[in-house]
């Protein structure tokens, strides 16, 4: 039954994809997995070698295992007391190579394998891209590999789906992923756990590709969970420090809450549609669900709960800033460019369902906008360079959710892509800064914090390439034309504005009794203010890091130098993408269309097949509106906000007056303090959720478990024991007694027989 339906669907697709056949689609996914296996084997071999090479007694010097080396390194360089977060600080505490010997092959091979498999995947993705560009692809191509879970009604296939959206995500994941793998070679190759790191990184890419290429919700969920696992493993990569291990656990547990939502959504979908594959769900949903119905609203809200976990939105964003405990390239790849965008991808992928639930869509947009401004306020007052970028990521993800919530799916995915470019560039740049800072501090055995901007300043003289690339990315994120972020962010803000003017399918929808027009006006205002803040905190970061006098210290300064080519080349590539990526989608809007060199809104055209379902529902329900007329003033305002934010930072903040970590205290009072302490949300969650839960757990442990459960078990034992003691008294050892009891028994049996026969025969 299912197979027939599937074959019919395949036949229908064959008509829709213009003769295009994907090339080695499975290998794109498989290659990173092979890389993981190879690197994982090397990591295990290296660990075995280390433990075998040194007798246990000698471990105090030189370190018998990776963990111990970290422990030693940490003991030699304790974190400063004000340092409340885990850092990359101890990356480079490589014990001096003995006898100047070259690193073992277990540390050299991953440098080839890990970026190699990624580049191969990227090449295959490019081959497929060119194939797709040649063909007009209207229907997704589904490749079915084997039957995964044939359970009664539930027929799940291990299947991959290639369409315009998957292709875009595929290119971002493998493309940006390759650059970050190359960067990692320079950044991590001195770490004792290098092969393990590369294995995790490959495994992450494998799961991410499963996520974006999966042809059904459960296959996507496998990738979804897999990337969560790799995120956990990489956040806690330096697990010998408790803060890092805790950050990993926090990420994992917070994500479980979201995954619960995703699961419930899948259950509901299956209960109402009987299928979970994308093509079938999106074909059946418009007929099965009424527009704005309760079921579809519940499904989409649960899906969005999953997205808030993975993509760090209110209320589940708290894990992402802590995730900065991992190595910086991990922050770039997983916690900025790819994994955290999975929620945006999922909402865009499920656009049919979200279109059927306008209320859910408005919730998505509102949560996105609120997250954007909330995270931006926190980013204004952080000293840790990675924290600024972490909150900036949360904020930018909010922009994306605002976009996909308002039905501007292409704008959201566009921002996802440009954000992947400039945020990866910013994170890798900060990684280069931290690397340089750390080497300088390490050379002089200073205990200062390598990630604190108060210890930086004037670095543009020492790290010119890093400075230049980060400047490009900063201009991109601030929304200064013609950098990539300008186009994507402007499209989102423009969508909110035209929605407020009544030109959106959501304009007539109502949420909490308020019309969509009002909500979208609110979102427009919020996002505009956020854009200003974004420019401000990014300007602040650049100012404190690269301008003014250097605050690192007299002796340390001599050790500051630019990082090697494995790190600068990816930076330059990402900077180029941050500069050029926006031209992919130039709308016909005043001022913006200056940059239209004939490509127009290419991304809109490219992604159009993905959102036809959305458009059909909108038209079918009579919600379609005439296109907004585009005025010039919103664009001027957007540019003014971007430039104005940077200018404000330049004018208001004086890096010259900033002391170093010791002399310049953290914000002590007022709103500054509240922002610096992140609105005390962590403390709030700790008080509202963690502590009560721990208290209830302790209560259950002491009262229910140790009292009731253990009481029942112990009681059963005691009853059996005392009954035994009692019955044991009968065993006197006296033969006569035994005989007496035996006779009694015989008499009893006889009496019974007598009664039986008596009744039987009436004797």
């Amino acid at each position: 039954m299912f197979l027939q339906a599937h074959d019919a669907a395949t036949a229908a697709e064959a008509a829709g994809h213009g003769g295009f056949e994907p090339v080695l689609l499975g290998w794109i996914v498989l290659l990173p997995l092979l890389g993981f296996l190879a690197n994982g084997a090397l990591a295990l071999y290296a660990a075995l070698q280390r433990t075998a090479a040194r007798p246990p007694a000698a471990h105090a010097h030189g370190g018998a295992s990776e963990q111990e080396q970290h422990a030693d390194a940490h003991a030699a360089h304790p974190a400063t007391p004000t340092d409340e977060h885990a850092h990359d600080a101890h990356v480079f505490h490589e014990p001096e190579p003995e006898n100047g010997a070259a690193r073992p092959f277990t540390h050299r091979l991953p440098s080839l394998i890990a970026p190699g498999v990624l580049l191969a995947s990227f090449a295959l993705a490019l081959v497929n891209l060119f194939g797709m560009l040649g063909a007009e692809l209207h229907e997704p191509i589904v490749r079915r590999y084997w039957s995964w879970m044939p359970v009664g009604e539930l027929q799940l296939d291990a299947a991959l789906q290639l369409d315009a959206l998957s292709m875009l995500m595929l290119l971002v994941v493998t493309g940006v992923g390759s650059l970050i793998h190359v960067f990692s070679v320079g950044y991590m190759s001195h770490d004792p756990g290098y092969p393990r790191y590369m294995a995790y990184l490959n495994l992450f890419v494998f799961f991410m590709l499963v996520l974006v290429l999966g042809a059904s919700y459960p296959v996507m969920f496998v990738g979804w969970e897999g990337v969560g696992l790799c995120s956990y493993l990489l956040i806690g990569f330096w697990f010998s420090e408790k803060a890092n291990a805790d950050a990993g656990k926090k990420a994992f547990i917070v994500n479980r809450i979201g995954d619960f939502g995703f699961l419930i959504a899948m259950f509901l979908l299956f209960a109402h549609l009987g299928t979970l594959s994308f093509t079938e769900v999106f074909a059946l949903a418009p007929g099965q669900f009424a527009l704005g119905g309760v079921v579809v609203t519940a499904i989409t809200l649960f899906l969005f709960l999953g997205a808030t976990g993975k993509s760090a939105q209110i209320p589940l964003y708290v894990w992402l800033p802590d995730a900065m405990a991992g190595p910086t390239p991990v922050s770039a790849l997983i916690h900025a460019a790819t994994m955290v965008t999975a929620g945006v991808y999922m909402v865009a992928r499920s656009n049919v369902l979200f279109t059927l639930a306008p209320a859910s869509s408005l919730v998505v947009a509102l949560v996105g906008a609120l997250t954007a401004i909330f995270a931006a306020t926190i980013g204004l007052k952080q000293w840790d360079i990675k924290k600024v970028l972490a909150y900036s990521t949360v904020s930018q993800l909010g922009f994306m959710f605002a976009a996909v919530g308002m039905g501007a799916y292409v704008a959201g995915v566009f921002h996802l892509m440009t954000h992947a470019f400039f945020k990866a560039c910013l994170f890798l740049g900060s990684g280069a800064v931290i690397h340089a800072m750390h080497e300088a501090l390490h050379a002089t055995h200073s205990h200062a914090d390598a990630q604190d901007m108060r210890n930086m300043g004037g670095l543009r003289k020492y790290l010119p390439v890093t400075f230049l690339t980060m400047l490009v990315a900063t201009l991109a994120i601030a929304g200064v034309p013609p950098f990539a972020g300008f186009f994507s962010k402007d499209e989102i803000i423009g969508a909110a504005l035209s929605g407020a003017e009544g030109h959106s399918w959501l304009s007539g929808a109502r949420l909490f009794g308020v019309s969509g027009r009002v909500w979208m006006g609110f979102i427009w205002g919020t996002l505009s203010i956020t854009a200003l803040m974004t420019a401000f905190y990014m300007g602040r970061m650049m100012l404190y890091t690269f301008f003014g006098p250097n605050r690192t210290g007299e002796t340390e300064r001599r050790h500051l130098h630019e990082v090697g080519p494995t790190m600068t080349v990816p930076l330059l590539a990402l900077a180029a993408l941050s500069l050029l990526g926006g031209f992919l989608n130039v709308e016909d809007v005043p001022i913006v269309n200056v940059f239209d060199f004939g490509q127009g809104a290419a991304l809109h055209h490219w992604l159009h097949p993905v959102i036809t379902g959305h458009e059909q529902i909108v038209e079918g329900a009579g919600l379609a509106t005439e296109a907004a007329h585009h005025a010039a003033w919103p664009i001027v305002l957007a540019i003014a906000l971007g430039l104005g934010g940077l200018a404000l930072a330049w004018v208001l903040l004086k890096p010259a007056r900033l002391g170093d970590e010791q002399t310049q205290p953290a914000y002590r009072s007022g709103l500054e303090r509240v922002l610096y302490r992140k609105w005390y949300i962590d403390e709030l969650y700790d008080g509202l959720v963690v502590r009560p839960l721990a208290g209830v757990s302790r209560l259950f442990s002491s009262v229910v478990d140790r009292g009731v459960i253990d009481g029942i078990i112990d009681g059963a034992g005691r009853v059996a024991q005392s009954l035994g003691l009692l019955a044991g008294r009968a065993q006197t050892g006296q033969l006569n007694t035994y005989a007496f009891i035996l006779v009694l028994g015989v008499l009893g049996v006889l009496a019974g027989f007598a009664g039986f026969f008596n009744r039987l025969f009436g004797l």
Binding site: L725, G728, R729, Q731, T732, G733, Q734, L735, N736, A739, F740, V743
Partner: protein, 105 residues
């Protein structure tokens, strides 16, 4: 050949058997000397033998066959039982069942 001797009524034989059996049971219950106990057990066995024999004319020859089995088993039992008693006596210098109470709670 006619049987002229007056037949002992069946009920008399069974009554004797029951009395003998009861005597045996009472002996097992009240006496302590292991040898007496042993003899009482034999008495019970032979009371049953008497019942078998007296019932056999009415029921069949199997009753008499069974008696031989019982005698054979009783002989074997006597051999084992007396050996045990002698062994116990060597150990404890007594055959009083009151002293044979090592296996108890």
């Amino acid at each position: 050949m006619t049987n002229t001797a007056p037949l002992i009524p069946l009920s008399w034989s069974l009554a004797l058997s029951a009395i003998l059996f009861s005597v045996g049971v009472a002996g097992v219950l009240v006496r302590r000397n292991a040898i007496i106990l042993f003899m009482c057990v034999e008495l019970m066995l032979n009371a049953v033998n008497l019942a078998f024999v007296s019932l056999s004319p009415r029921v069949g020859i199997e009753g008499q066959v069974f008696v031989f089995f019982v005698i054979a088993v009783a002989a074997a039992e006597a051999a084992v039982g007396l050996a045990l008693i002698i062994s116990v006596f060597r150990h404890l210098e007594s055959v009083d069942a009151k002293n044979l109470s090592l296996l108890r709670w």
